[in-house]
Each structure stands twice: as C-alpha cells, then as structure tokens.
Symmetry: C2
C-alpha cells in the first residue's frame, strides 16, 4: 500500500484509469529487480514523500541525462560523428581539394584505421566543414533529413530508434513524479534538439549541449543566425556542471551518465544536500549492444570510455552502476524497426 | 470583483466557467484603454483561438521580456550598476590602492560627474572587481543581501518593489494563457536569477542574461563554480537573438523591450510567421517615473536610450510603443510601501 503513495503523477493517473496499485511498480517494466531499479524507486519515494526529510518541491525536481551511451547507442562512433562523416562525403563534389587533404582524404577513402586515429584537431576540421557556414534553420533541415534516412551499420535501424527502453522508462517515471528531465550532452545542442521532443519527450529548451558561435546577420532582408566555425561552449567534463548552472541554474537531484565526461556532472549533483541519485550505465552486453570499459576488464575504447578509476570513484561515492546485461530486460523499444 | 480575475488561475477558471470576454479584459486593470492594451488582448485572442489561423500550440507559446527599463526602473543607473558601485565602497578597505586608481577613485570620492563619463572599460574593471573572485553561491548571498537592504535614491524603496505593475499584469495574463515568460536581459543572468521567481514569477531557468565565465574547482574537497573576471556572453543587441536561440531554442511569439539593446530581439521575434507581438516601453512620464528618449524630443540619456531611429523603425514595422504616461494607470504595485 505505501507503494500507492509513491508519486503524484502516477497515483493521479492510476486513479483516473482505475489501475491497481501494482501498476505503479510497473513504471519500470524493462528493469530486472535489483540494486539499480530499487535505487531509482527508493529515490523517487524519498523526494516525493510530503513531510519526509528528503522531500523536494516540484519546482526543484531536476534530473539530467547524458545522451551518447546513456540514452542511445554511441558505438562504433557517436551518431553525430557518423553524420559529420556522411556530410564530408556529400559535400566532397564541392571540395575537390579534399581528395588530397587530411582529414578529409581518409574519410573519402573510407579508411577506418586512419579515422580511428583522428585527433581532436582532425575532428574540429570536420565539424567546421560540416556544421558551420549555414544558418541554424538550414542546419536543422540538413541534420533532420540525415536522421530520417541514416541507418546504424550493425542494427540496420534509424539511430533515433536505438534508444534504451529502460532509460526512456526512467525519464517517464521521473516526469510522472514532477521532475523535469534535461539532456546534458557533450554532443551538439542544436543537433540533439532536432529530435529530443519526439524521441525522448524532452523539449528543446531542456537540451543543454556543446555549441559553436552564431552570428546575427541578414539574408534577403531577413535576420538569420549563421553558424560559425568557432567553438562557443564545450558541455563535457567540468563543462557539464558549468552548463547546468548556466542553462538550468538549479542543481540536479538526479544525474545519469556512462563515461568520464559525466564525472563532474555526477559529482556536482552529489554535492547537494538531501537525497540525490547518481547512476552510470556500464556497457557490458556485447551480445545485445556493446561491451566496453576498460573498467571491470571490459575492452578499452576511445568512444565513451568507462575507466577503472571512474568505477572506483563510483563505488567510493555511492554512485550506482547500471549493468546493461543484468539490469535491463530489453535494450531497445520493442515497437521499433 | 475585477481584482479576482487578475491572475493565472482565475483567468483559466473564467474560461472553464464560460465567463464573458470582459472578464479577460480585466486581466490588465492597470492599463488604460487604447492601442497598446488592445494589441495585447487581440494578440492573445488570436494565438489561443483553437482552429484559428494564428493558433499557437501551448509548447510554442514563448514571450520574452527585457528587464531594465521594461520590467523595472533603470534610472538614474541600472540597479546592478548601483550594486557594483556599493560593492566598490564595501570592498575598499581591502583595496587601499583603489584610492589612487581609476575608476575606483571616482567611485570612492562619490564623483557623479566622473562616473557619468565611465567608459565600458571602466565598467569592466568595476564588474571584474565586484562580480568575480567568488563562488556562484557566495555571489548570490552578497547580491541577495544587498537587494534586501538597498533603496532607490529617489523612490526610497527596495529596487525589487520598483517593478512596473502593468508589466506584471502582462506577464500574468500571458502565463494564464499558456505562455512561458522569459526574461532576456543585458544584465547579469546570475544577478537577476536571485529574485526573478519572487518578483516576476519567472523561474531561474527562464532567465537569459549576460554572464562571466565560471571555473569548476574544489574548496575543502567540495566542487564549486568560481566566477572569473572574464566575459562569457553578452546578452544585448544581436546577443539577445543569439541568446534566445541558445537558451530557449524557440522563436518567441511576443517580445517586450524599451531601448536599442532590444532591437534585434524584436526583429527576430517579428521575423517569425503568424501573429507576433512586439512592444517597446517609452519612458515619457517624468512625474511618476522618468522621461527620456531621445525619441519624440524627450531628454537624451546614456542609460537605456530609445533613439528616434528606433522609434521610426517601430512605426515602420508595426512594433507598438507603450506610453508610460498615457497607457499606464499606475506604475508600481500598490501594495509596495
């Protein structure tokens, strides 16, 4: 019966629909019973219990989610990286010089080994050539068209279907309990905003991400925002805590990540008073998704690494590790494909 | 009775209860009948009429408000400027060298003529010395204490009481009609967030403003955000359109300003399709508040100038000018002092 009192939204909904109390336990149907699922439910119970020591007013119920590797697939490469590489190929006819210029040459040659060795400077050149020199509206159109047509090389589905069903359930469960769910991503803010509402139910104003500078200018007498090949803000590592303060202005009560870039976001969240929930997704399921660490002896990776150092810190600070293999009944939404 | 209808809940109630349209006109009791008041009511009618040509879904109902001179008094100086000057005086004992160093010397001498001639570089030095070198939490405490105790030199009231009652009514009226009201200010984002909820009913995450850089570091093992003497973002002129895209990601349907710094925000808003409302407050009431332009032959000013050029553009583009003297029955909330 106490379960009934767990949440405002769910209780109300259950009331309207006449659902039994057990329906609320089913808010996380894709989660196996275990420490991770229990931690989520217990946290929500604590912060929504009126009069309880850990009660949090609705206006302060903020939860932040990293995207790549936390909400959707980020291997073999970040989706936005895939987009950038495809754009290099699409734009190549306008840039004959790229045939002889790195890093474009390797991209056009499809040289995966060379691409795997790309430095940050290489990527900056690729992003500058593919993400700037157009208006914000033109960019949304180009990236939106790509997202509608591109397929993941292994799963042969649109990237926007390769989201983690258990995490969608956590977002819904938190929202049903009065939380606002923010995406706080190292990826491009403007890129993620294209599909955040449709895919995650997160409105564009709740997407905090990295951005390049924009310039206000005129085209045919109308004002436009022109995207410039110049970094404005990097929302990664300490930038995530800075970005949260800048864009949200409130400290989250719950934060979810999967790699070293999320460390400071979890630390910043955990430094607040009262009940806080910090969780990290561990990709330990090569069969259904991917397996990489290098924590826990899993294979190392350059894309979204979860180091042993981060694992040790998580244990020491009480950040909960979600095992994809053991905690999740399913990985992707069933309806998709 | 009309007082009853002033607020959000009540106006919504009026809709549910099928109350007559006149009830909605009473949402703006401090406004005299005229073009400005009519424009607001007609705009709201147009964007909320389901099935109408100008209907706007609730999730897109965004209204942006400049603060200084649009929502509260900004003469003889911006409130945050007053705070900075008071901080120079408060910090002077720790900086004996300021006695001989401009611009601090003039501030400490109370030399108003010299202060009136301060350049942007002078102000940058003052802001750097008074707004940086502390954590975000320390800054909120310092500025919050000042706001609780400072008084406006002419009106002898706390600055937070010197808000425009007619504009509070517009914000409430828009919110009652499904709008989210954002403050988009050239002033400091962190400064305005201290009182935005209490004074305007605007949550901190809906305050977009200028900011300095912050650095993630540790004090006694706890993470803090240290404010650095380095400009990060100037939310003024074109920066207001850029800031709206960056922080909100949606084009506003209504925008309110009072000076040249708001020009691009109104232009950006007006460049969208469908019904849009762009308004500028003209300070033409020396008796009850202040009178300055230099538009319409009013006295010139260095603080929040409304140029004749802006007035001409407003007429040409259909931006409505609000005459403080003629359109507003009252200026400040009655309850205050």
């Amino acid at each position: 019966m106490p379960m009934l009192l767990r949440t405002l939204g769910i209780v109300l909904l259950a009331g309207w629909l006449g659902l039994p109390a057990s329906a609320q336990e089913e808010a996380l149907p894709s989660w196996n019973d275990g420490a991770a699922k229990s931690a989520i439910v217990e946290f929500v119970d604590a912060v929504t219990a009126e009069g309880g020591a850990d009660f949090v007013p609705v206006e302060d119920r903020i939860a932040t989610f990293d995207q790549d590797g936390t909400l959707w697939v980020s291997h073999p490469l970040y989706t936005q990286g895939m987009f950038a590489l495809d754009r290099v190929v699409a734009l190549a006819p306008e840039h004959p010089e790229w045939k002889d210029q790195e890093p474009f040459k390797s991209v056009l040659a499809g040289d995966r080994e060379a691409m795997a060795r790309f430095t940050e400077q290489d990527w900056a050149k690729i992003i500058g050539a593919t993400h700037a020199g157009m208006t914000t509206e033109q960019f949304r159109k180009i990236a939106g068209d790509w997202l509608a047509n591109a397929e993941h090389p292994r799963f042969k589905r649109p990237y926007t279907e390769l989201v983690y069903q258990p995490m969608l359930e956590v977002m819904n469960y938190l929202r049903a309990n009065g939380f606002r769910t923010y995406i706080v991503t190292g990826g491009g803010q403007e890129f993620v905003r294209i599909y955040s509402e449709q895919v995650y139910g997160v409105p564009v104003e709740q997407v905090v991400g990295s951005s390049i500078a924009t310039r206000y200018e005129y085209q045919d007498g109308e004002p436009v925002l022109m995207r410039e090949p110049k970094v404005f803000f990097i929302d990664d590592h300490a930038g995530k805590a800075i970005g949260i303060n800048l864009f949200i202005g409130k400290r989250p009560y719950a934060a979810f990540g999967n790699s070293g870039g999320d460390r400071e976001m979890l630390e910043w969240t955990g430094a607040g008073d009262g009940a806080r929930l910090m969780m990290l997704v561990l990709h330990d399921d090569a069969e259904r998704e991917y397996a990489y660490g290098p924590a826990n002896g899993l294979p190392d990776t350059k894309v979204g690494a979860f180091s042993q150092e981060l694992m040790d810190e998580a244990k020491q600070k009480g950040w909960l590790v979600i095992s994809m293999k053991n905690d999740w009944k399913t990985i992707f939404p069933e309806g998709a494909r």
